[in-house]
């Protein structure tokens, strides 16, 4: 079915724009970039239609990538360039290419006035976006852990490049580095997991691994599961590796929407869902995932309460929602996790693109304290963002409600404690999104710039995403679509739980309404009353500072002072130079003999001769 064409289109787009883009006009760059992504979307559509129900995976082998040893021999490694497609992949493919296409189109408008460093960054931006699409599609299509890892690292690279897109700004490139390095820490776990999988199963291909996994000892699977989870924590921004995602907002807003909300960051959830065979046999690892997920969801939500940068609010919201997805997959509700992945892609991409539209309208302003009253000035942006608002707040029957409800239902069966924290988080989520909406669109305008509505090329994608946010949950019933892909989940109806979570969402909105619209002074006075906790969450629990103090600075200082100056220059070179200078000292003494005066040499010869003769006399002749 030529699956390879799906990622190849964006790759070609990347190569064309990357190599020749500087000489292209903007419209030509647009054509290449968007054309390639749309082609890829259409090819996905065609493939899915052609392949039918896809209850079993369709696998295609292209060439051998890495091979070591002989077939049947000891430690035979054979990694093929294989792509596979099944129902889970189909969901991911549509999310990636669909939302990817929309965001590409939106970027035309957003980046129109972009004069980044380096002769205008326009072509560079689209080239990177296309490269991202390529790697993301490889990640989704790869039929082995190593191929998944290729995409995994590749999307990390593109994330690095796009976060540091404004590379003359130090904060942007630092954020890029932080994203790459923190992801590398996660990849450390992922690669160890792969090594461990290979040792135990002799292969990295999904079908071979999962075939054997069910019969493997539980501790092996738990180890693999936990190591994989470390990787997922890095990519999907979970505790303790979530710190890169908020900083990643230094990139252009479409990037935040595509990479840091809709697609790349959900790769960890995808990978966990993909490895469901391992996880279902490793309940310990599942518990850890659920706990990490709920802790992240709650913590990030609290941080989101106090942020004033509109993109930071949504960034912490993304971290929090990813936590939800982890709760879903950690509770065994893999399809619910993927369901939330999809709806979240709709509404969070919309929120970010809307925020981008706001920022665009205000010519770069991101601080919500300088916004307000924009409802009238940019109505299309306002109404589309409202759709995302109701979706993320979990108001039925909009998309977020279905997926969140599915996750919370599964969590309740797993552990009521997780459920209650999840409900609390749902309330907090509704609160901070409402807060952002009220501060941005309601009240009086507090800024200086003259807001203007975005062009059609930007609001049309917003409108499509708005429709998806509202009705996507109803239209695409992922749990039913993926029913055959995952182990059967017990069908439980518990309307009470549903009412509680909806109530939490509504009360979050209500409280935000009271604090930020009805009684405008209340938020500030509350912040003053509870100044210590407020400062704590305003400063994001000081996690970055703690990491700097406990990890980064000791490593840098220790490397410089102890390893380089101490061991390298001091001990090792000191030893080598010490031997050399001892030799020189000895030479310095012996050198006195070499006076350069022939007569002193002759005297020494005479002296030596005499000593020899005397010695021969004493010891009786020549030595034998």
């Amino acid at each position: 079915m030529q699956l390879w064409l799906i990622p190849t289109f964006p790759l070609a787009g990347f190569l064309i724009n990357g190599i020749f883009g500087r000489r292209f006009s903007k419209s030509l760059v647009n054509t290449v970039a968007i054309g390639s992504v749309l082609l890829s979307f259409l090819w996905v559509l065609k493939t899915v239609l052609a392949l039918g129900d896809l209850n079993t995976a369709h696998l295609e082998h292209y060439f051998t990538w890495i091979q070591s040893g002989v077939p049947g021999g000891n430690h035979y490694i054979n990694i093929g360039c294989d792509f596979a497609i099944d129902r889970l992949t189909v969901v991911m493919l549509f999310v990636v290419t669909g939302i990817g296409s929309l965001i590409h189109i939106y970027s035309i408008g957003y980046m129109a006035h972009e004069h980044g460093p380096n002769f205008g960054g326009y072509y560079r931006f689209f080239a990177y976006l296309n490269l991202f699409m390529f790697f993301m599609l490889v990640l989704v299509l790869g039929a082995s852990y190593l191929l998944l890892f290729v995409g995994w690292e590749g999307v990390g690279l593109c994330s690095y490049l796009l976060i540091g897109f404004y590379f003359d700004k130090k904060f942007a490139t630092t954020a890029g580095n932080k994203a790459f390095i923190v992801n590398r820490i996660g990849d450390f776990g992922f690669s160890l997991a792969m090594f461990y999988i290979f040792i135990n199963f002799g292969s990295l291909d999904f079908d071979k691994v999962f075939h054997q996994a069910a019969s493997a000892p539980e501790w092996v699977l738990t180890t693999i599961g936990l190591l994989l989870m470390v990787g997922a924590c890095g990519k999907s921004a979970q505790i303790p590796l979530y710190i890169w995602l908020p900083d990643a907002m230094a990139g252009p807003t479409p990037v935040s929407a595509l990479i840091h909300a809709a697609t790349m960051v959900t790769a960890g959830v995808y990978m966990t869902a993909r490895s469901w065979v391992i996880y279902t046999h490793a309940p310990g690892a599942m518990d850890v995932i659920a706990i990490v997920g709920i802790a992240t969801a709650f913590m990030a939500a609290t941080i989101g309460l106090a942020q004033t940068d509109i993109k930071k609010v949504f960034a912490y919201s993304t971290v929090s929602q990813l936590g939800y997805m982890f709760v879903g997959v950690g509770s065994g509700a893999f399809s619910a996790g993927v369901y939330h992945l999809m709806t979240h892609a709709f509404f969070k991409a919309l929120l970010f693109l809307g925020a981008g539209s706001v920022i665009h309208a205000l010519s770069g302003e991101q601080d919500m304290r300088n916004m307000g009253g924009l409802r009238k000035k940019i109505p299309i942006t306002f109404w589309t963002m409202c759709c995302a608002w109701v979706a993320i707040s979990g108001i039925p029957p909009f998309s977020g409600f279905f997926s969140k409800d599915a996750i919370l239902l599964a969590a309740y069966q797993h552990s009521p404690a997780i459920y209650w924290i999840g409900v609390l988080t749902a309330g907090l989520t509704a609160f901070y999104v409402s807060r952002a909406m009220f501060m941005t669109f309601f009240g009086a305008y507090r800024g200086k710039a003259h807001p203007h509505e975005s062009p059609a090329v930007m609001w049309v994608p917003l409108a499509i995403l708005a429709a998806l946010s509202l009705f996507g949950g109803m239209l695409f019933k992922i749990p039913e679509f993926l029913k055959a892909s995952f182990p059967a989940e017990a069908e439980v109806e518990n309307p009470m739980l549903m009412y509680i979570s909806v109530a939490a969402g509504l009360s979050g909105i209500a409280i935000a309404y009271i604090m930020y619209l009805a009684k405008t002074g209340m938020a500030d006075s509350l912040a003053r009353t509870f100044s210590a906790p407020y400062r704590l969450i305003y400063n994001k629990y000081f996690v970055d500072e703690i990491y700097d103090a406990t990890v980064v600075n000791p490593i840098l200082g220790g490397s410089r002072i102890v390893l380089w100056k101490g061991i390298d220059s001091g001990v090792i070179d000191g030893l080598a130079n010490g031997i050399a200078s001892r030799c020189r000292d000895v030479g310095g003494i012996l050198r006195l003999l070499q006076s350069g005066s022939i007569r002193s040499y002759a005297s020494w010869i005479l002296f030596g001769g005499v000593v020899l003769i005397v010695a021969m006399g004493l010891f009786g002749g020549l030595p034998r």
Partner: protein
Amino acid sequence: MMTAVPISWFLTLSAILFALGVAGFLFRRNIITVFMSIELMLNAVNLSFVTFSYQHKEVAGHLFTFFVMVVAAAEAAVGLAIILTVFKNRSTLNIDDVNSMKN
């Protein structure tokens, strides 16, 4: 029949001559004297070569002597030429003053 001079006399003479050469080489400052001392040492050795050659009825000792004489002659030719040039350039024959190769 005249009694032969004992071998040891020749050798003692040779040793005395050699010692005189060494002493001259070490303690004199004049280059010509040093040069003559070297010749003296060579000839002392020649004497002992001839002596041993006579003692062992071997011709090799004579041969060596001739070699030494040839070398000494060549050396005298080159050496004296050098000494002459040194004297022309420096107007001195004191060996301690001719040390420009050092340092």
